[in-house]
Symmetry: C2
Subunit: 342 residues, 2 copies
């Protein structure tokens, strides 16, 4: 066998028919093909191990079958689960999932978009959250216009300030609910560990925290807002600072689970007992939240399911089911051991 690609023509020759007929068989076309010929074609395909060149198909149909997913970091459990959900749904349907880690860098994000545009991606999922940056917004807006002209479907997870289909997860509401719970448990001196400043999601989550305080008549103490970056390490660093102000704080609300887990680790490291001396809660319900010491009270955001729902939505939309609606996910309070009544 030579090093030359096997094409529809080779199949046609072997099956003693025209390429057109082969194409009709491959695509289960409506156009009639005699049973006899069809069988010969099938046999030839089998024999030659032929599979149609999707690049050529793509050129013809103006479809790449590529779905781009842009995340902050695939090593972050949160994104890994979402991507897995998308991938498992999507690649059962002949699409390709193409990921990018952008570390929330404007430059990398734009680079990813350029590549996806050049590859004529059928859809793009903006999973990493919106960056709060003028240059980013402006360039993205232009890019998204261009993608529209290319018929690329763009999906934003959490609100994005562009004209895309935005999936709202209720980040602010989730934090509000869990903060309410913390307060219900008797806590009034509550520290908050923030997410990365440049992320709109951080802004939303903090808003939920503030809303709960206000609703419950607790004054916001700006000194109890600590910097974080949605990471374990960020949680650790914040907790180290908090550990020096233990008289001011009886509970910590973290902007996500990774932060909360890092905080608990550091508190333990500083010989501060959770939840006896201080309560800690998070958001996301990462798989590891169940296995921390102590186990973490949090809000479940069913991220894997979010991924499969995204996959299902994209698939339907790409098949021109224009009235298919996104299936919203439901968040849920998960009570574990890291929150204690006082």
């Amino acid at each position: 066998m030579s090093n030359k690609e096997i094409t529809i023509k080779d199949v046609a020759k072997l099956a003693e028919c025209s390429p057109t007929t082969v194409s009709r068989v491959i695509n289960n076309s409506d156009h009639p093909v005699s049973k006899d010929t069809a069988e010969k074609v099938e046999a030839a395909i089998e024999k030659l191990n032929f599979s149609p060149n999707r690049i050529a198909q793509g050129l013809k149909s103006d479809r790449s079958n590529i779905i781009g997913v842009i995340v902050h970091d695939i090593c972050d459990s949160y994104f890994a689960q979402m991507v897995k959900g998308i991938e498992e749904f999507i690649s059962g349907h002949e699409y390709i999932v193409n990921i990018y880690n952008t570390s929330r860098s404007v430059e990398k994000e734009l680079h990813a978009f350029n590549l996806l545009k050049a590859n004529r991606a059928d859809a793009i999922v903006l999973a990493g959250g919106a960056l709060m940056n003028k240059e980013y917004e402006q360039k993205m807006r232009s890019m998204i216009d261009q993608l529209k002209n290319q018929n690329t479907l763009v999906l934003g997870i959490t609100p994005h300030p562009f004209d895309v289909k935005n999936i709202i997860l209720g980040n602010d509401k989730a934090i509000e609910v869990i903060t309410d719970k913390v307060i219900e448990y008797g806590h009034h001196k509550i520290a908050y560990i923030d997410g990365p400043k440049k992320l709109y999601t951080s802004y939303l989550r903090k808003k939920g925290f503030k809303r709960s305080l206000e609703k419950n008549g607790i004054a916001l103490d700006e000194n109890l807002i600590f910097e974080g970056d949605f990471s374990f390490d960020g949680g650790r660093k914040a907790a180290l600072k908090i550990s020096k102000k233990m008289d001011l704080v009886t509970a910590i609300v973290a902007a996500n689970d990774s932060t909360a887990l890092g905080a608990m680790w550091e508190l333990n490291n500083q010989n501060i007992k959770v939840p006896e001396q201080i309560s800690v809660v998070g958001i996301d319900n990462l798989p590891e939240a169940k296995y921390s010491y102590p186990s973490l009270t949090t809000i479940e955001i069913p991220i894997y399911q979010l991924g499969t729902n995204i996959g299902e939505y994209l698939l339907n939309r790409l098949n021109n089911e224009c009235d298919y609606q996104f299936k919203d996910i439901k968040t849920k309070l998960i009570m574990r051991d890291s929150l204690k009544k006082i």
Copy 2:
């Protein structure tokens, strides 16, 4: 602006030249183009936000710029890191990284290969390890032949029984080294938690364990080999069994870190103290191994770096640097708190 794709022809028209000239400018062709024309072309490209259709380019050049990566589960820290390494290196160079989670299912693995074949992937990284399964081997062998004819580069991480470039990580040696250490620390009653039976990597790692025992004159007790599956949960389940045989065991060697972390969690849950009552070691040095209770003694396999090396290798090979050699990674013993002398 209409909904029609912008092509090289549109650019040519605007720049008042031929498509060929535009093509030459785009590709920095050797063929001379006057500065004047080049500038007009650049301006037109800018104005129209044109980017060449990589699908069409691919059809012409028989290159898809797609690199497929097949993993067991992207949620597994081990694979997430490798994929990140590959992606970060690769997508800086105009390639697309396309991932598949196959859960070590023969069917899914073959499905992924079929898709990658149809999409004429330029390279495929078999990162999930080789399955020990006759049907799988046979079908894969045939598939890999077909891919060869398509000029697809296939890379196996850990040995695969196919004619592909296999990257050897020294799994067996790593386990041997750490088991040696455990024995050096005075342990003779050592349990082993295995990886998934169907994985060749498991077989290799267990071999390393056995070799160390033998070398050190310790008889292998088959009752101290426990089933696992490279997961946290698998480690938990095994540890639950081990916790009932505490008189027979003073140390556990786990086939990977996830397993070790799950085992430690369960031991703690059973009120068995690590390392006071039992030592535990793993392999991989996952990021979370540093933050477990106690911190995990393990062998570092620099997986992220493995990923970037894979990316670099692929890039060079795809650019026909036929003598470029894979940069091997180095493993290293990481002593932490979960191993204690007796």
